[in-house]
């Protein structure tokens, strides 16, 4: 279903949809004890670091409020800021392209690469290009794209999918990474150990030749300044600098919500992002450029792909404030146990549970809004104060509405709710129904709790017990008590 008729991210391209229902995928992930250990180790490490990095900043809440307000301003005047950005980038020698969806963006990028005559490109880690399945589209066009971020390289060499926004190979431990390198990297030293420093050195040697020879690079963008046309890529390894600097042609794909209105706004986001994502005072490298610089050819692709559909929902649009820091993943009790693959989309965890269903329409990701305990930890750490729990509840209602609108005949849930409404709308019916609940006492005799409900109700008790109905309903007790008191009054 689309919200207000806005087109969502198209099916059949990119990676935004669950392949299996979340409960099924999560159950599969939970059986992998290695995965649970890897995730538990990594997320607990980063949680402690982030807390320390944030505690250092005395005005964190003020920065957070400003970050949220700046992004809300962007969303409110997105058309104006996009036009301003286009004007600035064009004035500085860049070319701006507009892509309504994943297919169009893939086509634009493929054509741009073809025009250079190159068959190989290097890539900086980018969520937007993962979202639209750009690598697959390029491969289909005979163009080989090499991921240069270490974790993305691990994922690509392992024929795997990313499972975290910041650290896509978080589900792999050092042993597994060594095995992947030995298997897939022809130039990996045979004596490679599982020490992270050695693994990193192997990746450096492997990619160095590619960097120095690369003619075309593809990147995402963390921020784009409407006022000045400046783009920013925030990174750690230097692979971003290599890709942004050395090749003759640079193609940047960014979601339309990545804009910041003014240059000055970076003073907020360059404080919020590094401390929230890698838990550093500042990430090792941030590159900024405006238009075509140092003799390069520069193309900027502005991507919608369901973002306007997300923007259409007043109670869901704040998800577009997200700056992809991944702090919400690291604190989420559900993500920590299931990992990212269970969510299906490249955006996993709490932000993914509110973003993916909005980008695709809730019909295509109906389980994700329910993949949460609503504990609120994600809201607490979000640097742009997205109220993810409230949004999850809202999206749950959209999922139910969508099912009602599309289901032939009532769903069992809807039938039950309708029956309940009929019962509760009349006091006599309600009293009768409560007394009928006594029958439930038969079920919980052995443990004094109901462990299994019969028939279609069994789903409710598959993962929880139900309290045994009391001997007497509250209403009966109250009536009895009032009668007794009334008799007392008579005597007095």
């Amino acid at each position: 279903m689309t919200f207000l008729g806005m087109p969502t991210a198209p099916r059949g391209v990119g990676q935004l949809r669950q392949e299996a229902p979340f409960p099924v995928a999560a159950a599969r992930a939970l059986e992998d004890s290695q995965l649970r250990r890897n995730l538990g180790h990594a997320t607990s490490t980063i949680r402690a670091k982030r807390a320390a990095a944030v505690a250092e900043v005395p005005d964190w809440q003020e920065l957070r409020a400003a970050g949220a307000a700046i992004k809300d301003d962007v969303l409110a005047h997105l058309d104006r800021y996009l036009l301003q950005l286009e004007e600035q980038v064009t004035a500085r020698g860049g070319t701006v392209h507009w892509a309504r969806d994943a297919n169009e963006a893939n086509r634009i990028v493929t054509d741009l690469i073809r025009a250079t005559g190159q068959r190989q490109v290097v890539k900086v880690k980018s969520m937007a290009t993962q979202e639209i399945g750009l690598n697959e589209a390029l491969a289909a066009a005979g163009i080989e794209a090499t991921e240069t971020d270490l974790a993305e390289l691990i994922v690509q060499l392992g024929h795997d999918r990313p499972s975290h926004i910041l650290v896509p190979a978080i589900h792999r431990n050092r042993n597994q990474i060594r095995d992947i390198f030995l298997r897939e990297m022809p130039d990996a030293p045979a004596q490679l150990s599982d020490e992270p420093t050695e693994l990193t050195a192997a990746a450096r040697a492997h990619l160095r030749r590619k960097f120095l020879a690369a003619q075309v690079a593809i990147s995402g963008a963390n921020f784009a300044i409407a006022e000045t046309g400046t783009l920013a890529v925030v990174e750690s390894e230097g692979n971003g600098r290599m890709c942004l600097t050395l090749p003759r042609t640079l193609i940047t794909v960014m979601g339309i919500e990545k804009i910041l209105p003014a240059w000055r706004d970076l003073e907020v986001f360059l404080q919020l992002l590094p401390r929230s994502s890698t838990a550093e005072r500042m990430n090792p490298y941030t590159s900024m450029w405006a238009g075509a610089v140092e003799g390069q050819e520069f193309h900027l692709v502005l991507l919608d792909n369901g973002r306007t559909a997300t923007l259409a929902d007043p109670r869901g649009r704040a998800a577009l404030r997200c700056i992809r820091c991944s702090a919400c993943l690291n604190v989420c009790p559900v993500y920590e146990r299931t990992g990212g693959h269970a969510y299906g989309s490249v955006y996993p965890g709490p932000i993914g549970a509110v973003l993916s269903p909005q980008l695709t329409g809730v019909a295509d990701n109906p389980d994700l809004p329910f993949a949460s305990t609503l504990c609120g930890a994600c809201y607490d750490v979000c640097p742009v104060a997205i109220d993810i729990p409230a949004m999850l509840v809202h999206l749950r209602s959209r999922v139910v509405d969508d099912k009602l609108a599309h289901h032939r005949g009532p769903t069992p849930e809807a039938a039950a709710m309708r029956g309940l409404a009929w019962t509760m709308s009349d006091p006599r019916r309600w009293t009768w129904a409560l007394r009928a609940g006594h029958a439930g006492r038969l079920l919980g005799r052995r443990y004094d709790r109901i462990r299994h409900l019969p028939g279609p109700l069994a789903a409710w008790t598959s993962s929880r017990d139900l309290p045994r109905p009391p001997r007497q309903t509250f209403r009966d007790w109250w009536a009895e008590r009032s009668r007794a008191e009334g008799e007392g009054d008579d005597r007095a």
């Binding site: 320390a52 005395p58 400003a66 997105l78 650290v167 992270p196 000045t228 000055r264 404080q271 941030t286």
Partner: protein, 262 residues
């Protein structure tokens, strides 16, 4: 309708309900310590924070720079050093094997290292920013070689991120550098040295302060233990005590110790 017109039309349709967007409130710490305002405490904070990111920081008196640079380069075992246009000749005077630009990527890859100046340095985050101005070379210049030595004048050190943003030109290509290249991609533990220079040295050069009086600096040419700048660091952190003592390196690593020490 073109894709551009269609996307703009979609946006206008779905944001029509938003009205009266309140002003963005900026109650966070504003820019306060711009270029030329650094005192000894701020210089000390920059030195400590850059050190936290495994950059090796040296101090130099104005007349000693050439010797300090030559010493640092020798310590790294680097010989062929790229020196960009506009780098003060008196600073590179004692380097023996100097390679001048223009240098293509292959030539840069053949260097042992480069020396550059910077545009701005940020004390609170231990960051240097290069804007390809005189003495800084192209973006590739400070990227491809494995060793980068950056010379920071004390007058270029600003307090925090807002000061740097205010001091920089958004039209120039900018590279913000905080320590050597690093990754946390394997089990989220930090490893220094991936694709960018694996070694970063910073030389802080004392110069006249904004007031025209020489900033009083304990000139030092060798890295070594130095007193933490408690008052200032706690101003920037808003908490008492100091987390990152020099010698206790790297914010991430010290997070658990930090809890016990504060």
């Amino acid at each position: 309708m073109s894709s551009r017109e269609e996307m703009l039309a979609r946006i206008r349709a779905v944001t029509a309900d938003i009205s009266g967007q309140p002003e963005v409130s900026r109650r966070y710490r504003p820019a306060a310590r711009g270029p030329g305002s650094a005192d000894e405490a701020l210089v000390g904070l920059f030195e400590e924070r850059a050190g936290d990111y495994r950059a090796t920081v040296r101090r130099s008196a104005a007349g000693e720079v050439a010797r300090v640079i030559a010493d640092a380069v020798a310590t790294r075992g680097a010989k062929r050093i790229g020196v960009p246009d506009g780098f003060p000749a008196e600073w590179s005077a004692l380097l023996t094997d100097v390679v001048d630009p223009p240098l293509d990527v292959a030539a840069l890859d053949g260097l042992d290292g480069v020396v550059t100046t910077v545009a701005v340095a940020i004390a609170e985050t231990g960051t240097i920013v290069l804007d390809t101005g005189p003495g800084q070379g192209s973006r590739a210049f400070s990227l491809v070689p494995d060793y980068h030595l950056a010379v920071v004048r004390t007058g270029q050190i600003v307090g925090a991120v807002p000061d740097a943003v205010a001091a920089l030109d958004p039209a120039r290509p900018l590279t913000w550098i905080s320590g050597p290249s690093a990754t946390s991609d394997i089990e989220l533990s930090r490893v220094e040295g991936v694709h960018g220079p694996r070694t970063l040295d910073i030389v802080i050069v004392a110069e006249l302060g904004a007031t025209g009086r020489p900033a009083r600096l304990p000139f030092r040419s060798r890295p070594g233990p130095r007193p933490p700048h408690r008052a200032l660091a706690s101003h920037f952190r808003g908490t008492s005590g100091l987390r990152g003592r020099s010698g206790q390196r790297g914010l991430p690593k010290c997070s658990t110790e930090a809890r016990s020490s504060t």
